[in-house]
C-alpha cells in the first residue's frame, strides 16, 4: 500500500514516516498541502494521512482536492485539537480521525482497516 503523510511539523512528519516505513509501509511525506497535491498528481496513493490544521491549504480542503484527483483515496486525519468531535465540518467520507499524540499501533490498525 502506498501512503502519503502531510504535516507541517517537519520533525513529527519525519519521525512518523520513519516509524511507518519500519512497519513496512511505503510512505512519502511532505510538509504542505501544495506539495501533497504535486505529489498526488505524479503518483497514486491508497491512503493520505493529513494534519487538519496547516498553513496554506488545510487538511479539510486538501482532502477535497485529493478526492478530486483520486476518488478512491482513503483519508485519515490527524489533529492536535483533541477528540474527533472537532471534525463535524469535515467530509463524511473521511475514513477516520486520530488525535495527537497518536498511538502507532492504532494508526497501523486503521491503515489496515481502510485498505481492506
Amino acid at each position: 500500500m502506498k501512503v502519503i503523510l502531510v504535516d507541517d511539523e517537519k520533525k513529527f512528519a519525519t519521525m512518523l514516516a520513519k516509524r511507518l516505513a519500519l512497519r513496512g509501509i511505503d510512505i512519502d511525506y511532505v510538509n504542505t498541502g501544495e506539495d501533497a497535491i504535486v505529489k498526488a498528481e505524479m503518483e497514486r496513493y491508497d491512503v493520505a494521512i493529513l494534519d487538519v490544521k496547516m498553513p496554506g491549504i488545510g487538511g479539510i480542503e486538501l482532502e477535497r482536492k485529493l478526492k478530486e484527483l483520486d476518488p478512491c483515496m482513503k483519508i485519515i486525519f490527524l489533529t492536535g485539537h483533541g477528540s474527533e468531535t472537532d471534525f463535524e465540518t469535515g467530509s463524511a467520507e473521511a475514513a477516520c480521525y486520530l488525535a495527537k499524540p497518536i498511538q502507532i499501533d492504532e494508526l497501523m490498525k486503521i491503515l489496515h482497516e481502510v485498505t481492506g
Binding site: K11, M15, G80, G82, T85, K100, P101
Partner: protein, 554 residues
C-alpha cells in the same frame, strides 16, 4: 414578642444591607438605598402634607374671621339695643319734667303740697324719681318735695344750674351728692310770662337704670355699664374698675353711632368693646354706654371646634406618615431585592464568563502542548522502533522499559490535553446520543485503578450533552478523590481555601453544568460516613429549547 417588635421596626426602618455581600456591590444599580428611601419619604410627605396644612390654615383663618365678625355684629347689636334703652329711660323722664313745667303753673308748683302731688304722680307714671325741686332764676330753691328737706338752698354757683341756664335742659353724671347715694339730676328750664325763668329739678334713682342695663347682659363674659366722658365708671362693672373710679380702658373716641373696637385689658386678654355716646333728643348726656366682651370666653365654642379639628388633622398626618413610610419601605425593599437578585445573576454570569475564558485558555495551552507532545511521542517511539524493529544496537530491556515510560507519560499527557480541549467546548450544549457508562469509563481514565477499586457502575441510556456530563463526572470524581486524601471527609465547600486541592470551583462548575442540562444535583453528607451526590437529568432534552437558549443568551 421581641421578634415581632423587631419586624415591625424593620418595616418602618428597613436595613437594606442586612445580608451584605461586598462581592455583589459592583453589580448593584443603586448604591444607597437608605438615601432613596429617605428621599422618597420626603417627597411624598411634602406632596401629601403641604396641601393639607395649607388648606387647614386657610380654613382656620376663614373660621376665625367669620367668628370675629359674628362676635362684632352681636356686640354691636347689643350695644345698640342697650343704648336705645338708656336713651329712652332718660328721654322719658326729661319729657315728663318738660310736660310738667308746660302744663302746671308756677304758683302751683311752688306750693309744697302741690309739688308733692306732682312727685307722687310722676313716681306712679315712671318711677325712679326720688325728689322734685323748683329753683328760681336766682338759684334759690323755692319749693321741694321728697324725703330730704333741702329747702332754701342756693344753687346759683353750681355747675348743673349754670349748664341748665345755658342749654335749657340738663342731665348730670351719676354722683353721690350730699346723701351719699348714687343719683342723677335732670333739670328743665322754663320761662315765665314776666321774662324770668325757673328750673324744675328731679333726682333720679340709678337703681332702675342699673337694672335696665343688667337686663341686657348676656352670659358671664359680657358686661354692660356706663362711663362718663372722662372715663369714670358710672354703673357697676365687674372687670373694668370700681364705680366712680377711672376705667382701666381708654375712653373711646366720639362717634354718633354705635361702634365696636378691639382692645386688650391689663392682663393682655382680648376684649371686644362696643360703645355708644348717649344723647337724647332733648339734651346731650355725659354718658357713654360700654359693652365689653371677653373674647376668650366668647371663643370657647370656636376653640372647641379648633381643638377637634387639630385632633383630626393630627391623626390624619400620623396616618399619612405611617402609610408613606410603610409604602416607601416596601417599595424600596422590593427594589433592593430585585436589584440584589440582578446583581447575583450578573455575578454568576461573570463567573461563568471567567470560566469560559479559563476554558479557552486551557484549550489554547492544550493545543500548543499537543504538538511537542506528538513529537516526543514519535521520537521516543522511533527510538523504541530502532531497538525493537530494526534491532540497531543492543536490545536492552531496561532501556526499552524507560522508553515505554516516556510513551506512557506522553499518552497520559495526551489524555489530559484532550480533556482540556473538551473542557473548552463545554460551554456549547450539543445534544447527541450518549451511553452513560461509556462516558463514565472515559472519565475514569483519569483515575482508572482507583475507580475500579471503588466499583462505580452506571447503566443508564440517556440523551444529553456528552461533554458536559463528562465534565460533571470528572469534577465529582476529582472531588471524591480529593476528599479521600483529606481523611475521608468530603469538603463540599467550593472555597478558595482549599487551593492546594485545586481551584475549588469544581463543585460550583458542576452545579452550573447540571443546571445547563436541566437537571438537579443533591448532596447528602455525613462527617466520617461519606457523601452522596445525586444527579437527576431529564432523559430527553428538546434540542429546540437548548438552541433557543443559545440564541437569546448569545
Amino acid at each position: 414578642m421581641i421578634n415581632r417588635t423587631r419586624r415591625a421596626l424593620g418595616a418602618l426602618w428597613p436595613q437594606f444591607h442586612r445580608q451584605d455581600n461586598k462581592l455583589l456591590d459592583p453589580y448593584f444599580t443603586f448604591t444607597d438605598y437608605h438615601k432613596i428611601w429617605a428621599l422618597g419619604i420626603c417627597v411624598l410627605v411634602a406632596t401629601a402634607l403641604v396641601p393639607l396644612l395649607v388648606v387647614t390654615i386657610i380654613h382656620y383663618q376663614l373660621l376665625q374671621k367669620s367668628v370675629d365678625s359674628e362676635l362684632t355684629l352681636r356686640t354691636e347689636r347689643l350695644a345698640s339695643n342697650a343704648r336705645r334703652a338708656v336713651t329712652f329711660f332718660l328721654e322719658e323722664r326729661l319729657n315728663a319734667l318738660r310736660f310738667t313745667v308746660n302744663e302746671i303753673a308756677y304758683d302751683q308748683m311752688t306750693d309744697p303740697d302741690q309739688l308733692a302731688e306732682i312727685l307722687r304722680n310722676l313716681k306712679l307714671g315712671f318711677g325712679g324719681l326720688t325728689d322734685l325741686s323748683v329753683i328760681a332764676h336766682t338759684g334759690t330753691q323755692v319749693a321741694y318735695a321728697g324725703p330730704f328737706n333741702l329747702g332754701g338752698r342756693d344753687y346759683s354757683n353750681q355747675r348743673w344750674f349754670i349748664e341748665c341756664q345755658k342749654h335749657h335742659f340738663y342731665v348730670s353724671e351719676i354722683f353721690r351728692g350730699y346723701r351719699d347715694v348714687p343719683h342723677i339730676i335732670i333739670a328743665v328750664k322754663f320761662f315765665r310770662r314776666d321774662g324770668s325763668f325757673f328750673v324744675l329739678r328731679a333726682t333720679l334713682d340709678t337703681e332702675r337704670l342699673i337694672q335696665t342695663l343688667a337686663s341686657y347682659e348676656t352670659g358671664a363674659h359680657a358686661e354692660i355699664f356706663l362711663i362718663n366722658r372722662s372715663g369714670i365708671v358710672q354703673t357697676p362693672s365687674k372687670h373694668q374698675g370700681d364705680i366712680f373710679k377711672k376705667m382701666s380702658l381708654p375712653v373711646p373716641a366720639y362717634s354718633q353711632r354705635t361702634q365696636v373696637t378691639m382692645a386688650e385689658d391689663d392682663q393682655m386678654r382680648s376684649l371686644i368693646v362696643g360703645y355708644a355716646y348717649i344723647s337724647t333728643q332733648i339734651a346731650d348726656t355725659p354718658f357713654i354706654l360700654m359693652v365689653i366682651k371677653q373674647k376668650a370666653g366668647m371663643m370657647q365654642v370656636w376653640q372647641q371646634l379648633r381643638s377637634n379639628l387639630n385632633w383630626f388633622v393630627g391623626s390624619a398626618i400620623l396616618v399619612i406618615l405611617v402609610v408613606i413610610v410603610l409604602t416607601c419601605s416596601y417599595m424600596v425593599n422590593k427594589l433592593y431585592h430585585a436589584d440584589k437578585s440582578k446583581a447575583e445573576t450578573m455575578a454568576i454570569m461573570e463567573q461563568s464568563n471567567q470560566l469560559a475564558s479559563i476554558g479557552q485558555l486551557a484549550a489554547g495551552v492544550a493545543h500548543e502542548i499537543n504538538n511537542p507532545l506528538a513529537l516526543i511521542n514519535e521520537t521516543a517511539g522511533y527510538v523504541k522502533d530502532l531497538f525493537v524493529l530494526k534491532e540497531q544496537g543492543q536490545k536492552d530491556d531496561e532501556l526499552i522499559g524507560y522508553i515505554d515510560d516516556i510513551l506512557d507519560a506522553v499518552e497520559r499527557c495526551g489524555t489530559i490535553t484532550r480533556q482540556l480541549l473538551g473542557f473548552a467546548r463545554k460551554f456549547e450544549v450539543k445534544i447527541q446520543k450518549v451511553k452513560l457508562n461509556e462516558v463514565i469509563s472515559d472519565v475514569l481514565v483519569f483515575h482508572n485503578k482507583e475507580a475500579i477499586y471503588r466499583n462505580i457502575k452506571v447503566t443508564v441510556d440517556v440523551e444529553t450533552d456528552r461533554g458536559k456530563l463528562q465534565q460533571i463526572l470528572v469534577n465529582l470524581v476529582n472531588n471524591a478523590f480529593q476528599a479521600v486524601d483529606n481523611g475521608c471527609i468530603l469538603d463540599i465547600e467550593a472555597s478558595p481555601a482549599g487551593a492546594d486541592k485545586g481551584t475549588g470551583l469544581g463543585l460550583a462548575i458542576t452545579y452550573g453544568l447540571v443546571k445547563k442540562l436541566h437537571g438537579e444535583i443533591f448532596v447528602k453528607s455525613k462527617v466520617h460516613e461519606g457523601t452522596t451526590f445525586t444527579i437527576t437529568l431529564p432523559t430527553r432534552i428538546q434540542k429546540e429549547i437548548i438552541e433557543n437558549e443559545g440564541h437569546t443568551g448569545g
